[in-house]
């Protein structure tokens, strides 16, 4: 097993407009990216579970050209609204870091 936090080159979140977070997981090595992609662990249901939204609310894209996985989910609280904790949405990535990918040998 390998944690995203130890194998990804980038794991980040940001607003995509005031009503959505977008979360990106990017790899440096194409071989590793393809291994992770083949496991199917990073998918819409995973993001739905971590960000407590319906699967149909997750816009999930695998972007091969950038060796990246991208998920966009609705915010529970719009940016800057009552009770918002993260106006820029820049610190909502942490739950991804602990996701385990079932690969044993790194390329």
């Amino acid at each position: 097993m390998a944690r995203i936090g130890t194998i990804a080159q980038v794991c980040k979140s940001k607003n995509a407009g005031p009503f959505h977070f977008t979360i990106d997981v990017v790899f440096e090595d194409p071989a590793l990216f393809n291994l992770v992609k083949a496991t199917g662990v990073l998918d819409a249901p995973l993001f739905a579970r971590l960000y407590k939204v319906g699967i149909e609310q997750v816009q999930f894209t695998i972007y091969d050209a950038a060796l990246a996985f991208k998920a966009t989910v609705p915010r529970k609280i719009p940016a800057g609204d009552f009770g918002d904790t993260d106006v820029y949405g820049a610190q909502q990535h942490a739950p991804l870091l602990d996701v385990d990918i079932p690969i044993n040998t790194l390329p």
Partner: protein, 453 residues
Amino acid sequence: MTEVRLLSTTAILGYGFPEESLARGMARRPHLIGADAGSVDPGPFYLGSGKGFTSPRAVKRDLQLMLRASCEQGVPVVISTAGGAGGRPHLEATAAIAREIAAEDKLGFKMALIGSEQDKELLARRAEAGQTRPLAGLAPLTRQTIEASTRIVGLMGPEPYQAALDAGAQVVIAGRSTDPAPWAAAVLRGGLGSAEAWYAGKMLECGAEPALPKKEDCLFVTVGHGYVECEPTNPIRRCTPLSVANFALHENSSPIRHIEPGGILDTSECRFDAVSDRAVRISGMRWEPSERLTIKLEGVELAGYRSITICATRDPVLIASIGPYLAKVREVVADKSAAFGISPDAFRLIIRSYGLNGVMGDLEPLANTPAHELCFVVEAICETQEQAAAVIGMARLTMLHSDFEGRLCKEGNMAIPFSPSDIDVGPMYRFNVFHTVEASSPTELFPITYETV
């Protein structure tokens, strides 16, 4: 061969860039230089208050260097989403800085100001005529929502910029714009296609952000038939196929379909080829024009006035029972506030607990991890600042001095880092308009005025 050369100086006007990077870019004879000055990312306050999120001093520093370079070579300069949010006060504040620089440096130019703040009556009539649509799951737009708004801006595309540049403006300062708009305008004026134009704009909207290592700096883009070429002007930075492809992930919901006024930029078939170890050529972008022209709107309403206090505990007994403690604090604050005439439905008391779940709130998966200290940012929001200050004063007192089971720290439960302990933050705004409106032309909602500076 048609080629359009563009120089973006920084991520946001006022974030800074090395002077030398601008000089290197100018040496390559750009057709247009510019910088985006705003974003919706810092939240609703700036649109509501009319204030910028970069200081006038920082904006002047960047703009002065750009105006000098522009006048020296006779190259137009564009500032988009002026003043952070692109409303009327933002536009006027940026124009005032440009005039001040011109007077100081004895520069003269024709300046265009493109407005984006929307007339509420016109929008209300379009909403009533069914010509608006909600985005992001909001309710349909009503006259009532529009009238409750403090300020509403529309996001312009390239056409108002094209009009201003066609009219001979050397300096264009514009209100809220889709980030690629000014750059796309220059490419379209050069006779190239929409796909290249919008892609070039996407690359230029954030200065050297598509380059590595990341820091605010200048990006040079060359556009020709079917391709866009990116290169940072600072020799310590480089664009790689991966760094450029990665930039497509920035602040949008999809890296392959970008919805813009007038169409969709499809980047799913893009190729990224290194032309040197510092420059990348992108090709294969496509543009799908949409049938109906719509303009995106952003608006905010006043939500109240905010006061806050910051306090922290190092007491293990209190930390172990923090949930019930905060519940009790809420009760006491409600009772005592009611006693001085502020009923529980007239204020919101929000307590963010750092060390527990202050960053992620209900989404925090590790909320039961014990911490040795906790920090609280306590916030009161009321209809007036005076009320908010009264409630937060009572909340601070209650956080500090309430009793709890097993309490040893009987002189006070909180470390308070500042005197004064309570801070009046001022008005709080919230987004209430995030809709599209139909427009009869891409320039209709964006009036241009010209002046000779």
